[in-house]
């Protein structure tokens, strides 16, 4: 039961309990008092006096008249007393109800504000403040304490957001440091055979080795291969580094993936591309170019995991407040121990050459506030699951 109704009922009961006995006692007493005046003995005495004086005495006549009047009005007076006290009782009940409502309102209204504030807070609104209107000391204290709590939570949330931002920044920095170190390491690898080949060519020429021509040919071949490797390294690195500033616009994710599939179908006729698009997806705020790149990389990754053709399956669907996109293939799969590493930049040269494709995908998805997961079984295939938030506030972009 609501506190407001409860308090009103309590007031009513208190009013009735205290007013009813007063009502009953006063009624009985008043009636008894009237009976003292309307007495048959008095009437008899007046009648005897009238007979004695033969109706000549004015005062006795007046007394008799007054008494008759009194007798005549006896019932009316009794009724008036009854109605009057009933009115008083009714008034008391009304006063009790009104007072009950007013007092309960004074208590419950701030509590309702607190309730509203708590609801808002539970939904993450830390900007709500409760009006401090009440004049009740305890409630004023409670409201103030609640507002202080919200202010602290707000401060805490802001600090957390700030800390998260710093963490992301430092993570980015650490990633870049790791990438730079790996690039440096990878560049040193091809330099070694180049150096050794050139030194050998010079040495053999000085020694006038009869097989010099063959050695020159072999050495040059190695140098060319390693120069090519160096080019691939630097090209891949610049691709990784040049994720352009994303332009978020309303886009249809199905359309973006369809465009990717159409190109892949032409590039890899030996692979079957299937799609199952949900038709109920609303337009989303996305950067088309980067997502095309991400899904191209995923498609390429799938194709490169196949020996002689295979199937790549794209599926989109709404999953609560996210759009779920699956890219499934029946390629060679990924070893379980490698699964946690495949999104690391320069993880393996066996992955589409540079080991950057999937780390680029991950950073694009993360720029969209999304997530990417991978499931894989060796020799069975791989499933990449991308989650993109279907609704994003403009302020986030």
């Amino acid at each position: 039961m609501k506190l407001r109704i409860k308090l009103t009922i309590i007031f009513l009961i208190v009013a009735l309990v205290s007013a009813l006995p007063i009502f009953l006692i006063s009624n009985i007493l008043l009636r008894e008092n009237i009976k003292l005046f309307i007495n048959p003995d008095i009437e008899r005495l007046i009648d005897q006096s009238l007979i004695k004086t033969k109706g000549q005495e004015e005062s006795v006549k007046k007394l008799s008249l007054e008494y008759k009047k009194l007798k005549f009005f006896q019932e009316t007076i009794e009724k008036s007393i009854y109605i009057g006290s009933l009115l008083v009782l009714f008034l008391m009940v009304i006063v009790a109800i009104v007072a009950g409502r007013l007092i309960s309102k004074a208590i419950t209204t701030p509590i309702l504000y607190l309730l509203e504030g708590t609801k808002k807070l539970s939904l993450g609104d830390v900007d709500c403040q409760i009006r401090e209107r009440s004049k009740i000391y305890e409630i004023v204290k409670l409201t103030k304490a609640f507002n202080n709590m919200i202010a602290r939570i707000k401060k805490g949330k802001e600090d957390l957001v700030e800390a998260q931002k710093k963490l992301i920044e430092s993570e980015k920095e650490t990633t870049w440091q790791a990438v730079a170190q790996k690039v440096a390491h990878e560049i040193k690898n091809p330099l070694t055979p180049i150096k050794l080949s050139i030194e050998r060519i010079i040495r053999k020429q000085e020694e006038k080795d009869p097989e010099f021509e063959q050695i020159l040919k072999e050495g040059s071949q190695i140098i060319l291969e390693e120069v090519e490797e160096l080019y691939r390294l630097t090209h891949g690195f610049s691709e990784f580094a040049k994720l352009p500033k994303l332009e978020f616009k309303l886009n249809n994710i199905n359309k973006i993936i369809e465009e990717v599939i159409e190109i892949q179908e032409k590039l890899y006729p030996e692979v079957e591309f299937h799609r199952e698009f949900s038709k109920n997806l609303s337009l989303m705020v996305l950067d088309k170019n980067s997502l095309k790149r991400a899904f191209t990389n995923l498609a390429k990754n799938s194709v490169e995991s196949m020996y002689e053709g295979g199937i790549v399956f794209f599926k989109t669907e709404q999953d609560q407040n996210m759009i779920k996109i699956e890219v499934v293939d029946n390629g060679c799969g990924i070893k379980e121990e490698d699964l946690s590493l495949i999104f690391e930049p320069y993880y393996s040269k066996k992955w589409g050459g540079m080991g950057l494709g999937l780390s680029i995908v991950k950073s694009i998805i993360e720029e969209h506030q999304g997530k990417i997961k991978v499931e894989s079984k060796e020799n069975k295939g791989t499933k990449f699951i991308v989650y993109l938030p279907s609704q994003r506030e403009e302020s986030e972009l």
Binding site: Q181, A184, H185, E186, K188, N189, P190, L191, T192, P193, I194, K195, L196, S197, E199, R200, R203, I222, E225, E226, D338, S348, K349, K350
Partner: protein, 132 residues
């Protein structure tokens, strides 16, 4: 007597060029791309020196060295080849008995010098062992 040297590196061209250089200087060479291959060679051949890239394709060369050193009472002298060796790894490697580090990209001269030095150390060690 010509020394036998085992080169373990996952980069084909590093193995080939390093191998060619050592062959030119009269060493007998064995090449391994992976640690499993290297183990097979070590079982069948008399190897004097190992040249090992610590960061093979997802294989931990240091762990392997530890395993090998605990398995054999006496195992070949080892030289590490690497792009960048951090001091901790180097310390651990030295504890296991690694005698030298070749930092990529290295020159022919550096390779020959470090190998000569390592083999000299090895033969003096063998001398001490055989005389005692």
């Amino acid at each position: 007597m010509s020394y036998s040297i085992l080169i373990i590196d996952d980069e084909k061209n590093v193995r080939v060029t390093l191998g060619n250089l050592l062959k030119d200087y009269g060493y007998k060479i064995f090449l391994a791309e992976r640690l499993v291959e290297a183990e097979k060679i070590l079982l069948t051949e008399e190897i004097s020196l190992i040249m090992l890239d610590l960061f093979l394709n997802q294989e931990d060369g240091l762990k392997w060295l530890k395993k090998m050193s605990s398995m054999k009472k006496y195992y070949p002298t080892t030289i590490i080849i690497s792009g960048n060796v951090n001091p901790e790894t180097l310390e651990k490697a030295m504890e296991i008995g690694v005698v030298g580090v070749l930092k990529k990209p290295f020159s022919s001269e550096e390779v020959i010098n470090i190998i000569r030095e390592a083999l000299e150390k090895r033969s003096s060690k063998i001398n001490i062992l055989s005389s005692s």
